[in-house]
Symmetry: C2
Subunit: 378 residues, 2 copies
């Protein structure tokens, strides 16, 4: 499923290929989030055209709406969404962090609130895997218990223990179904290591999850409010214990600066709402850092969003025009900025892969960091 192509000599960065039932995704890659079965403001055709290789959906949210009957009638999420590349499904573990979703939690499973219908649903880890099998995603994620940011050792320890119990049960259920979706396609299953910001827990969790021999391993529970330094530390504690021959997925990471650091530490894939959410707040990626496009200083700026970007937004519109649209609250500005940011990150990962393959990753990272910090609108 996963093959390594090149490994950087100076860092842990590597390129490779993750083969799934819907093609081969070159690693490292970034996937936009399609929680409700659509990326915000970007079409699946646009994502394919720009070279996007994967998206991530969400098991619990899909279970609520549109519900599994429709998903099965459509023969899975690929056909419903009309995206024919790799689709991941997150389990719903992340939703437990939200009070509008979580009711209570025990080793048996999770009682979720359904905010659409104001009722509760009890889901066991096996139920979540069954939902993912019915979605027909290419990569299913185990149900995990994500402890809140700043959890003390006792709480984090309990959440990690439960994550491990559930990981075993998810694996067993998935194996019992021949590691296949209900559409008889091979479905990969990734484990998720937790441990909050406690070193011993992070190490222990990585070792345990790794020992279960999943198709890939994820570093979870980060990017939820901790500092950047803490996030990178937690990552560094786990990476050495996650089998290098399996893909490593860092969940929730999407800022260019975080991505390149994580790649240098050996991460192969990423997902985040960062590019699209930032776009809706007028934060735009450029080679020299993020700009906040609704600032007055861009009102007469006839240059493209990023003069080095070749996306259709940069080729066709000026900052001044897009600034006008944002100040006029026109929806097209969400569309244009979302497209640009997603395009930018997809191409950024392409540039990272090229640099690794050419043995120039360290130079690339150094130049990126120097230039990226130049322009930073708060």
């Amino acid at each position: 499923m996963f093959t390594i192509k090149n490994t950087d000599s100076g860092t842990e960065a590597r390129t490779g290929e993750l083969k799934t039932a819907h093609g081969a995704a070159k690693t490292p890659f970034f996937m936009p989030v399609a929680t409700k079965l659509t990326i915000k403001h970007v079409t699946p055709m646009e994502l394919e055209q720009m070279g996007g290789q994967a998206v991530i959906t969400n098991a619990y949210v899909t279970y609520l709406k549109p519900g599994m009957a429709l998903i099965k009638d459509a023969c899975g999420v690929h056909r419903l969404m009309n995206f024919n590349r790799t689709i991941f499904s997150d389990s719903g573990g992340f939703q437990m962090l939200s009070e509008s979703f979580l009711k209570d939690i025990s080793d048996k499973g999770v009682r979720f609130h359904d905010p659409f219908a104001n009722r509760a649903h009890f889901l066991k880890p096996e139920d979540v895997i069954q939902i993912e099998r019915e979605m027909g995603t290419d990569v299913a994620m185990c149900l995990d218990h994500v402890p809140k940011v700043g959890s003390n050792l006792a709480d984090a320890s309990e959440a990690t223990r439960r994550t491990h119990v559930w990981a075993e049960r998810c694996k067993r259920y998935h194996d019992a179904h021949d590691q296949q979706s209900i559409y008889a396609r091979r479905q990969l299953l990734f484990g998720i290591a937790q441990g909050a910001l406690h070193r011993e827990l992070r190490e222990k969790s990585a070792k345990f999850i790794d020992s279960l021999d999943f198709d890939g391993n994820a570093v979870g529970g980060l990017c939820i409010g901790e500092t950047r330094e803490a996030m990178l530390k937690a990552l560094e504690w786990q990476i050495p214990h996650l089998n290098p021959e399996r893909p490593r997925y860092m969940m929730g990471v999407g800022s260019p600066e975080d991505i390149i650091e994580a790649v240098s530490r050996g991460v192969d894939c990423f997902d985040s709402i960062y590019p699209t959410q930032n776009a809706r707040h007028c934060h735009v990626f450029t080679r020299t850092g993020t700009i906040k496009l609704d600032r007055g200083k861009y009102s007469k700026d006839f240059t493209p969003l990023d003069p080095e970007c070749d996306c259709y937004v940069c080729k066709n519109f000026s900052r001044a025009y897009l600034h006008h649209l944002s100040r006029s609250f026109e929806w097209t500005h969400h569309r244009y900025l979302s497209y640009h940011n997603v395009y930018w990150v997809v191409k950024f990962l392409e540039r990272i892969r090229n640099a690794i393959d050419k043995g120039e990753f360290e130079d690339f990272r150094k130049e990126f960091k120097e230039r990226y910090r130049k322009n930073k609108d708060k």
Copy 2:
């Protein structure tokens, strides 16, 4: 500027070509509205690709935001918006119907409220033409006084008289500037006939506006709340008095049923927010009538929005999926439905032109009306 190609034998329908500084638009055509210099949810590139030939912008709104300095820096609205086909500019007359814009009105001009900056602007008819010259639009509309729907004879008469005074002044100012925009391109100027729902006023206004020898003549002040029958009557009163050798523009009309009736009465161009506004309310055009996509009955419907439409939305997504997006309040559903509706109307006009050219307009109209009423979700 305007040449007639074919005239229908049984009706007043005709095909032709309106040449402007940005190409030749085949008539009859429909233009989407880009009041704030963007169509809602649709890009100018998409409009060009689907065969859209023109859009209409707005002088008063552009004057307020982004303001004329930026427009001039950009060398006009075509470059700013990156739309290289025909662009009309409405004057702002329509905005006078809105209490958030109009302060007071006299023969001298209009005192407009600026809702963005909470101050007032006084604009003479000459000022409006100057704004349109600075926008560099291909077709400028005269400033008109649109009486409210249901205006009595005295009020409507006064508004019509003022519209005529202003029309003369607009024409004089435009002629004094060689009928050119400030970018030294030929700019067409269209007059607007008013008269509310009073026959004698409508006839008188059409005759007067026609006598001023504009490049084209518009029927204004309709589609603002009157019945469909009243609207078509008012149109019928004016058409015979508007020179058949000049293009006739019916302002504000955008429903397929109204468009085809107006074409049969001799109208050559249309603008309306109807396709995009309806899309945002989940009203979708199909060959068999409009459907309201957020209805439960479409939740498991795996057919395209309109099985006979070949737009990318119809080719790629099902009603069931788009229904899901609309029920999930995902922005992409606005985007998909807006694209489909605009595409549908643009192609509808193309079908109308083809039918006229082939001498089959009456059959086309009959079949359209029979089929279109079949499916009508309220």
